[in-house]
């Protein structure tokens, strides 16, 4: 508040960032009140691509809604699909074959790496470096190719089905995944050399946009934002679902809470995801990929159901209210960046414009997911 009070002395002006602005990665608008290059107040304005997925959920059968979930966050569609099928399976009490769960984990983690790679490139692009974006795209294409051979699609997969998967992997997938991991392992040191240890990037990220753990708690921030603030929280560990308990992986945590910490969390998460994929590929059991006893008509018993998964950007959770019909009575989609962005207003107060945009980039926004 001191800054606000002082701003009465200075003259402020309004700057309209977006809805079409290179830094907002989509159609987000931020109403900035500026004092020179300092931000006095930044108010995000949402809803430019609001599609009312929740209402669509109420008008579609349980199976038909699958395609919508992936379209909310097109960068980690796999995780979102996973959250949705896991929710319905929880409600219906469907047991999923082990092979299907393993394949789900593999594809979700590949999808997570893909999402982080794109974030990395786009974030460096926000900071003015263009080439890393295309290097990241180069690697990301390998994942998309892999996933395309399995799911038939590159972005919105709709690969999971209640009780299993749409179809089994083909014979090249395992080798392809291993080859990709080998390739990415050799590329990540290059990424670090080119970007992470670059003095310009370090001065731009270190100590910029600190977000305290308490602030994260108050705003319900999750995912890398929370882990960058020193809290070791990951749904995959803390609220294990699928077959995650069977893998040995760490949750990267950094305590500084600044943009660099969030950056490092994501970079380390890629490595952890690769570890998970490797273990899953090693342990991959044989068997069917679809449960035998999946009811034809999905009509979960009356009640509230809740399921949360760790998407690339944080906790994605769904609450449905079922009234035992073939359509949900109410569906609430809780997307991670909605909460993560809500702390931007408080966190960006008094920052420089350039730093605030670095902060915004480090939150890893996917606008369709915020607007839903």
């Amino acid at each position: 508040m001191t800054l606000l009070a002082e701003s009465q002395l200075h003259e402020t002006f309004e700057l309209n960032l977006g809805p079409q602005h290179p830094a907002t990665h989509g159609v987000l608008r931020v109403k900035l009140t500026m004092d020179g290059e300092y931000i006095v107040k930044a108010e995000p304005v949402l809803g430019y691509i609001h599609r009312m997925h929740e209402k669509m959920g109420e008008n579609r059968t349980w199976a038909q809604f699958m395609a919508n979930v992936g379209r909310m966050d097109y960068l980690s569609a796999m995780s979102f699909n996973h959250g949705y099928v896991a929710l319905v399976e929880r409600a219906m009490g469907i047991e999923v074959p082990e092979r299907a769960e393993y394949l789900r984990v593999i594809t979700v983690e590949l999808n997570r790496i893909q999402s982080h790679l794109l974030w990395w490139g786009a974030f460096v692009l926000d900071l003015g470096g263009f080439s890393p974006l295309l290097y990241a795209f180069d690697d990301r294409e390998q994942i998309l190719d892999l996933l395309e051979t399995v799911t038939g699609s590159r972005l919105t997969y709709s690969y999971f089905r209640f009780g299993g998967l749409y179809n089994d992997i083909d014979e090249n997938f395992v080798d392809g995944a291993r080859a990709f991991i080998k390739r990415l392992r050799s590329r990540i040191p290059m990424y670090h050399d080119l970007v992470t240890y670059n003095i310009i990037l370090m001065t731009r990220l270190k100590g910029v946009g600190p977000i305290s753990a308490e602030m994260c708690r108050k705003y319900g921030a999750t995912g890398p934002v929370l882990r960058g603030s020193g809290i070791q929280f990951d749904i995959r560990k803390n609220e294990p679902y699928s077959v995650y308990p069977e893998f040995d992986f760490d949750i990267p945590v950094y305590h500084e809470g600044d943009c660099m910490a969030r950056y490092m969390v994501r970079m380390d998460e890629m490595e952890q995801s690769m570890r998970i994929i490797e273990q899953a590929l090693d342990k991959l059991p044989d068997g069917p990929v679809k449960a035998k006893k999946v009811p034809k008509l999905i009509k979960p018993p009356i009640g509230d159901y809740y399921h949360a998964v760790e998407a690339a950007r944080g906790t994605f959770s769904i609450r449905v209210v079922s009234n035992k019909t073939n359509k949900p009575y109410r569906m609430k989609l809780r997307s991670p960046t909605f909460s993560n962005l809500s702390l931007f207003e408080e966190a960006s107060e008094g920052m420089l414009l350039a730093d605030a945009l670095a902060l915004m980039g480090s939150l890893d926004l996917v606008i369709p997911e915020i607007d839903r």
Binding site: G47, R90, L226, I302, Y306, R319, K324, T325, K332, S339
Partner: protein, 186 residues
């Protein structure tokens, strides 16, 4: 975070708001909806007068429901509940609402979780008259509730009294409807 303490305090809070001193029974609100609801046509519900769920704390099986504790309160008690959970270090994950057209009620649902390590999810719910769905805001307790409440107001028309900025969040500024209401016709 102390699970037992939270449960105790929330149960006490729920008991406070009870209209009659009847002990809390395991009557999840979901039973309020008739079983043979084929097409979610709300008008059919009126035939069988369902028993509304009473205030109180219910421990729900996590594996089936995805939450540990489900508490129903009076609308004016949600702030107290938020303060209790806040003091124990819980996080507000989402605020949402459900439109119970058949019962002419509007329900606000608050999802709390704990990010400190232990797994503990609490659902706080409260119901108000559908004609005048007023709930006190908890955005003073949890800053993150600000947007969630705005969104809920935007889509469902639940009024959060005392909210600093109850404006349209996702819909256009000049929208005059609440699309998630069950009687909304586009």
């Amino acid at each position: 975070m102390d699970q037992a303490k939270i449960k105790k305090e929330l149960a006490a809070l729920a008991a406070e708001g009870m209209p009659e001193p009847e002990p809390v029974e395991e009557t999840p609100e979901v039973e309020a909806v008739p079983e043979e609801q084929a097409e979610a046509k709300p008008k059919k519900k009126e035939k069988e007068k369902p028993k509304p769920r009473l205030n109180g704390l219910v421990e729900t099986p996590y594996d089936e429901r995805g939450a540990h504790v489900d508490v129903q309160l009076n609308p004016d008690q949600v702030v107290r509940a938020a303060e209790i959970l806040d003091s124990e270090g819980m996080t507000l994950e989402a605020v949402t609402g459900v439109d119970w057209l058949a019962e002419k009620q509007m329900e606000a649902v608050y999802d709390y979780s704990y990010t400190g390590g232990e797994l503990f999810r609490v659902v706080i719910r409260a119901r108000a008259d559908r004609a005048q769905p007023d709930f006190p805001t908890i955005s003073n307790v949890f800053g993150g509730a600000n947007w969630h409440e705005r969104e809920t107001w935007d889509l469902l028309g639940i009024n959060f009294t005392g909210h600093p900025q109850l404006e349209r969040l996702l819909l256009p500024e000049d929208a005059d409807f609440h699309p998630l209401r069950k009687d909304y016709k586009p």
